[in-house]
């Protein structure tokens, strides 16, 4: 037989896709993922890294999971391929899909297709959790912490074994805790959920952004002639065409859509191309000739503070490269220290890490010209974007494009994780929009994984100095804190980070005197911004480790020292943070008991250790970032004659389940089933403004907005039902689709009938609700950062083992208790806690943004960890069992008593690990992350009896 020698580029292959045999014309260079997503429109197969590191593209080829992003489709000729779309059969979900839904084993859904397919293989014999973790170890998840996924697969495998066991129908609630199943769960387990990159429009162009290869340089010229001549290139834009500066905070407008005369980090956008296909766009970038004048790159905070370096932002009001400085004193810190019996000072360093959400940023724009004018500003622009903050994108697009906001529509579809990394406008949104305007065609730009890393906005590397005074009985008398934050090249939310770094240290302990000095500097590295636990994570690490040392010095149990100092419910901190509900004591008691702390602390065999830490976090910021005095969240609830309830809210479900929470609040208030409620979110044309998914605000703020609209509707319905039964509204109840008299349930009518009566009386039934926080905080300058309508509280205990020869840490178990107010959905709350713990473990032990250094004759600043192979997020095999405890306080202002759960549980993980390492092997880790080599180094230094107290970062 002769081989087929491919001279023509295209050829036919036969693939049996989900049982259907297809002959498809493909080109040899197409990957299987490309063919599945673009030729067959099976977009449930996701691209997370595109280089075989994350597993999101997993499909089954002849029954075996493989990575479709690095498999050439042509090599699958004759094979049978199963994608997520083929898992459900005859309109029924597969038992594994049901199990995922019932266990809450999915959040953003981006890894779900690959996870489900990796776990699909027939379970012939009993499988252990460890075997499941191994089977899933090539599928990264950034949301769940893997626990619920393992449980879902385990449950499915048990079902497979119990052949005779009756098949359960999918319940609408999770069996363990009677939580409602995620309202967006089914499309996510079947692959039909549309994410931004899944959009394909007729005539759509692909955009790419040319990025700066230098960390700091003047742009002398940009010549696009050659690129324009490349067949297939339709348009090219440069920064000059979009010169208006923006920034998510009104007081730091320091970015432009593309750089104009200066680049500030390696990866900064310089020009953008739209072409008929992505390959052409890729090639066109190479033909753009940019001439630079290279400037010294500022890569360390020390250099940023020197006046011998050029300024990164010439118009910055601060000296040198300082971006922001905040100095505040509450009480009299020196008096506080004078009262102390014991004072200690320590230095800490927390390195930068990033969100690494599994879905890369993506934006699709489409533009319709005006009927009456040739001015593009009169046309209409629609932008789909993977953003946590559609409202900020909307507003900023209007500013930068100088178009009326009323002509711009921003929509967020399903979003594959954010963690703060998609909470402000990014270059691709402006570029896709403007390229679409220029070409009159839809334009899609999806970042490569490498570009996601350059876009960053993650954790600020922070140098910290901390001084704490205590009395002999452990009572804290004063704290002084200094922080130096490496902000990278732009402002982002950095001003808030600078404040939060200091302002949030006054919880969860009573601090009578407090002073902080927090400085953020610009450097020529990708900008830092908000990551889960924004600003508060680094100082929390420092403080909780220092507390541990103090406890040891005082001869006190470290848990007891903490208990001694906790704030009380309904109190106010020295910097005017108002605490309402507070379950921190219950939290610590839960984890102490569950972990058997008393019998373990200091008593485990060498190498094994246990550590504790606690924290508090905001439920949304008390001040809107624009200080306009407008509602933070708005909602419309509409009732259809058929009994359907629709919620419209500008909030963004980014996987955490906010849509489920909003649906549930509406359902509970109106007494209907959650399956009768639909949520339309994050569409600036359809939904009232909500500021977005950041600072743990959605349940609290959007929840209150929905609640108030739903309550208004209920009031109207109660009114007519009360009339019918000749009673008053107070005597009525609404439940399970029925409205009835509480003490005489025989007097009842269905929701649909009640709605009909109400509509007869009031006309079409809809109501609006909005939420504006009460006036909070002090009156001093800077008092706006830190206040929140409510705070969540967390306590963690970690038990781990340190391999004293490799320096590797194996975490055996984490016990986590979190006060989230009333848990509106326990499965979702647990998911947030487990995901936070997982992410904290990643920060503590594995993840680090590392850059090339300045050398003798070249400048550095190039990100070394720019893939999911080099940037190490924990796999299922690196993540321990996590036991969660939900501590329910009833928050007076939260919707049905609820407050945040999404970020708070991350903070104390890192210090709890550090404290456990100390308990295990007697070394204090002052630098995050605790990489094995650093642990070995610290152990050797201790052996050589060097003082480890002053171990400090070599360089930021």
């Amino acid at each position: 037989m002769n081989s087929e020698n491919i001279k023509m580029s295209s050829r036919f292959v036969t693939l049996t896709i989900n049982g259907e045999k297809k002959e498809i014309a493909i080109e040899p260079q197409w990957t299987l993922a490309e063919v599945l997503r673009e030729q067959l429109h099976l977009t449930g197969t996701k691209i997370g890294c595109d280089t075989g590191d994350c597993g999101a593209c997993t499909v089954l080829v002849d029954g075996k999971p493989i990575l479709s992003c690095i498999t050439l489709a042509i090599t699958c000729d004759g094979s049978s391929i199963q994608t997520i779309e083929g898992v459900a059969e005859n309109g029924n979900l597969h038992p594994l899909q049901k199990s995922f839904l019932e266990h809450g084993a999915l959040q953003c859904g981006f890894c779900t297709s690959g996870m489900v397919l990796s776990a699909m293989s027939n379970k012939q014999s009993a499988v252990s959790n460890q075997q499941i973790r191994e089977e899933l170890s090539g599928n990264l998840c950034r949301c769940t912490g893997y626990k619920k996924i393992v449980e879902a697969v385990k449950d499915y495998s048990n079902q497979q074994l119990a052949v005779s066991a009756p098949q359960n129908d999918l319940r609408t609630t999770n069996h363990e805790s009677q939580s409602e199943i995620k309202v967006d769960g089914v499309p996510k387990v079947t692959g039909s959920a549309q994410f931004t990159d899944d959009i394909f429009l007729p005539r759509m162009l692909f955009g790419k952004i040319l990025r700066s290869p230098y960390a700091h340089a003047h742009i002398l010229s940009i010549d696009t002639t050659k690129a324009e001549q490349l067949p297939g290139v339709i348009a090219i834009i440069t920064g000059k065409e979009l010169p208006i500066k923006y920034g998510v905070l009104p007081s730091s407008q320091d970015e432009t859509a593309l750089c104009i005369d200066k680049v500030r980090f390696i990866g900064d956008g310089v020009a953008a191309v739209a072409a008929i296909d992505e390959f052409t766009a890729q090639e066109a970038l190479k033909l753009i000739d940019v001439r630079y004048e290279i400037l010294p790159a500022i890569l360390t905070v020390e250099d940023a503070l020197k006046n011998t370096f050029p300024k990164i932002h010439n118009d910055s009001k601060y000296e040198n490269n300082v971006a922001k400085n905040v100095e505040l004193e509450f009480g009299k810190v020196e008096e506080g220290f004078a009262e102390a019996d014991y004072i200690r000072e320590d230095e800490f360093f927390y390195d930068s890490n990033t969100h690494a959400m599994l879905e890369p940023h993506s934006a699709v724009a489409t533009y319709e010209p005006s009927a009456t004018s040739n001015n593009f500003k009169d046309g209409n622009l629609t932008l789909w974007s993977s953003t946590q903050t559609p409202h900020y994108v909307h507003r900023t697009l209007a500013k930068v494009l100088e178009m009326p906001a009323s002509h711009i529509r921003v929509i967020k579809l399903h979003l594959g994780g954010g963690f703060g990394g998609k909470s402000e406008p990014f270059a691709l949104e402006f570029c896709a929009a403007f390229l679409s305007i220029k070409t009159g065609r839809p334009v899609k730009i999806t970042y490569t994984r490498e570009e996601v890393f350059y876009s960053h906005r993650g954790r600020h590397a922070t140098k910290m100095w901390l001084k704490t005074g205590v009395k002999n009985d452990g009572t804290i008398t004063a704290i002084q804190y200094k922080a130096l934050l490496d902000g990278g090249a732009y402002g982002s939310y950095g001003i808030i980070t600078t404040y939060y770094s200091g302002q949030l240290l006054t919880l969860p302990y009573k601090i009578p005197h407090y002073k902080f000095d927090s400085t953020r500097v610009y450097t020529n590295k990708p900008p830092c911004g908000p990551k889960r636990g924004h600003g508060a994570v680094q100082p929390r690490f420092a403080f909780e480790v220092q507390l541990d040392k103090i406890a040891e010095e005082l001869g006190m149990d470290s848990a007891e020292l903490r208990l001694k100092n906790f704030v009380e419910p309904n109190s106010t901190t020295i910097n005017s943070l108002r605490v309402t509900s507070c379950g921190i004591k219950e939290c610590i008691e839960k984890v102490l008991k569950a972990s058997d702390w008393k019998n373990k602390k200091g008593k485990l065999p060498r190498g094994r250790g246990i550590g504790i830490a606690t924290s508090a976090y905001i439920s949304g910021a008390g001040k809107e970032i624009n200080w306009l005095g407008l509602p933070h969240s708005g909602a419309i609830v509409k009732i259809d004659r058929g009994g359907g309830v629709t919620v419209f809210c500008g909030s963004s479900d980014i996987g955490q389940g906010s849509n489920t929470v909003l649906a549930s609040l509406a359902a509970k208030t109106l007494g209907v089933n959650i399956s009768d409620v639909k949520v339309y979110e994050a569409d600036t044309d359809l939904t009232p403004v909500d500021l977005g998914s950041y600072s743990s605000r959605v349940t609290f703020m959007a929840g209150n907005a929905v609640l108030s609209a739903a309550k208004e509707l209920r009031k109207k319905i109660f009114e007519v039902v009360a009339e019918k039964f000749e009673t008053t509204s107070e005597n009525l109840l609404a439940k399970n689709g029925n409205y009835f008299v509480a003490n005489d349930p025989s007097k009842n009518i269905s929701f649909i009938e009640a709605v009909r009566l109400a509509e007869q009386k009031f006309g079409t039934l809809s109501a609006v609700g909005s939420y504006t926080p009460p006036k909070l905080g002090g009156t001093y300058k800077g008092a706006g950062a830190g206040p929140s309508p409510s705070y969540s509280f967390t306590a963690h205990v970690v038990e781990l083992e340190v391999d004293e020869e490799t320096g590797q840490v194996k975490i055996h178990k984490v016990w986590s208790a979190h006060d989230c107010g009333k848990a509106l959905n326990k499965t979702l709350v647990e998911g947030q806690i487990e995901g936070s713990v997982y992410m904290g473990i990643g920060e503590a032990l594995y993840e680090k943004m590392s850059y090339t250094k300045n050398m003798k004759d070249t400048f550095g600043g190039l990100l070394k960890s720019s893939s999911l192979l080099d940037y190490k997020t924990p796999t299922s095999l690196d993540t321990p069992d996590i036991e969660t405890f939900i501590v329910e306080t009833n928050d007076p202002e939260g919707p049905l008593g609820a407050k945040e759960a999404g970020e708070g549980p991350l903070l104390a993980v890192i210090p709890a690990i550090a404290n456990a390492i100390y308990d295990a092997v007697g070394i204090r880790m002052h630098n995050v992350p605790f990489l094995p080599e650093n642990i070995l180094k610290a152990m050797e230094e201790k052996k050589r009896s060097f003082k480890t107290e002053k171990v400090f970062a070599e360089a930021l």
């Binding site: 037989m1 081989s3 260079q29 490309e34 990575l67 042509i74 170890s137 090539g138 390696i266 020869e805």
Partner: protein, 328 residues
């Protein structure tokens, strides 16, 4: 998505045909599972004009075993086929350990033993996108510039990355090489050069068709690997060990091979010989491990700091030998 450049695709159904295509087409890359090559093509470190895929050649997909002939694994056998082969599970458990330590389950379902043995060397400064490499200035391995990991050296120091090769060398494996002129069987150890840019000595027209491993009941072997995460990651250090003991537990033969440090596996012959003639004690193991650790010189080019990797080599040798000796 990153889009690949066009190439001509060839999928011969016999070795004979494959050799013919190979000798008549320049700039041809052999494609096996593609888990390494396709990533390289996405990063544009490799841009072949022709791709020769061996997936349709049945003779490359066989695993055979007999006590006399030993084990023979066709180059196109996937790592998971090896993992599930009962003969290998029974007679070569160390190979199973080594295979399981490679990458992730999905990669093992697609990656082949031939591909693993010919895996490209790795380096922070090379395994990056075209943009990244240009930003830094390209390197020796790519074809110009300097070695960013070791600017003082005039050769490429990219790291040998196959987890299987060190063990298979320790097990005295041979590989069969086919070219249009000849068929050669050479020791696996002779396949590699300590040159990161050109670490596999295959001629353009040669195809590695199989690997064979002799069987000897007396042999004890083990594989050790340290990596940052328990899945997906390449080795910080790895080691393959084979020891033969007399009936009185006296060590008669010792092979220790270190991977993930230099550009080729390091066969620590002279140091390993110190175990011979001994009833191997923990002290002796420690001595040998320390000496090996001193002997290896990693460059700052992959996961783990240089000194850490050096230390881990010693530790792995110690742990691997100890396990073998303890289980006697």
């Amino acid at each position: 998505m990153i889009r690949l450049r066009k190439f001509e695709f060839h999928s011969p159904t016999s070795l004979q045909e494959a050799k013919k295509i190979l000798s008549s087409n320049g700039q041809t890359k052999i494609l096996a599972g593609g888990t390494d090559l396709v990533v390289g093509m996405k990063q544009e470190t490799v841009q072949p004009k022709n791709i020769l895929w061996l997936g349709k050649i049945h003779e490359l997909q066989q695993i055979t075993f007999s006590r006399k002939e030993g084990l023979k694994i066709g180059a196109m056998c996937t790592l998971s086929e090896i993992e599930h082969n009962t003969n290998i599970q029974k007679h070569f458990p160390s190979i199973i350990d080594a295979v399981k330590s490679i990458a992730s389950p999905q990669i093992r379902n697609h990656a082949t033993i031939g591909g693993n043995l010919c895996l490209n060397t790795r380096c922070f400064y090379y395994d990056q996108s075209d943009f990244w490499r240009n930003s830094l200035g390209n390197c020796l391995k790519y074809g110009n510039g300097i070695c960013h990991a070791a600017p003082e050296l005039s050769r490429c120091t990219a790291v040998f990355s196959s987890d299987l090769a060190p063990l298979l060398i320790a097990l005295d494996a041979n590989v069969e090489l086919h070219s249009s002129q000849s068929t050669l069987k050479i020791p696996l150890s002779r396949l590699y050069n300590d040159d990161g840019k050109n670490h596999v000595s295959l001629f353009q027209s040669e195809i590695l068709s199989s690997v064979s491993i002799p069987f000897n009941e007396k042999i004890k072997s083990a594989h050790g690997k340290i990596r940052a995460r328990n899945s997906t990651d390449f080795a910080i250090a790895n080691v393959g060990v084979e020891l033969t003991f007399s009936s009185k537990n006296i060590c008669e033969k010792a092979n220790i091979v270190i991977g993930a440090i230099s550009s080729s596996p390091i066969i620590v012959d002279t140091i390993a010989q110190k175990l011979i003639g001994e009833n191997v004690s923990e002290k002796k193991i420690e001595e040998v491990a320390n000496e090996i650790s001193t002997h290896v010189h990693p460059m700052p080019n992959v996961d783990g700091a240089v000194n850490y990797r050096k230390k881990m080599v010693g530790l792995l040798v110690k742990r691997t030998l100890s396990t073998l000796v303890t289980n006697l």
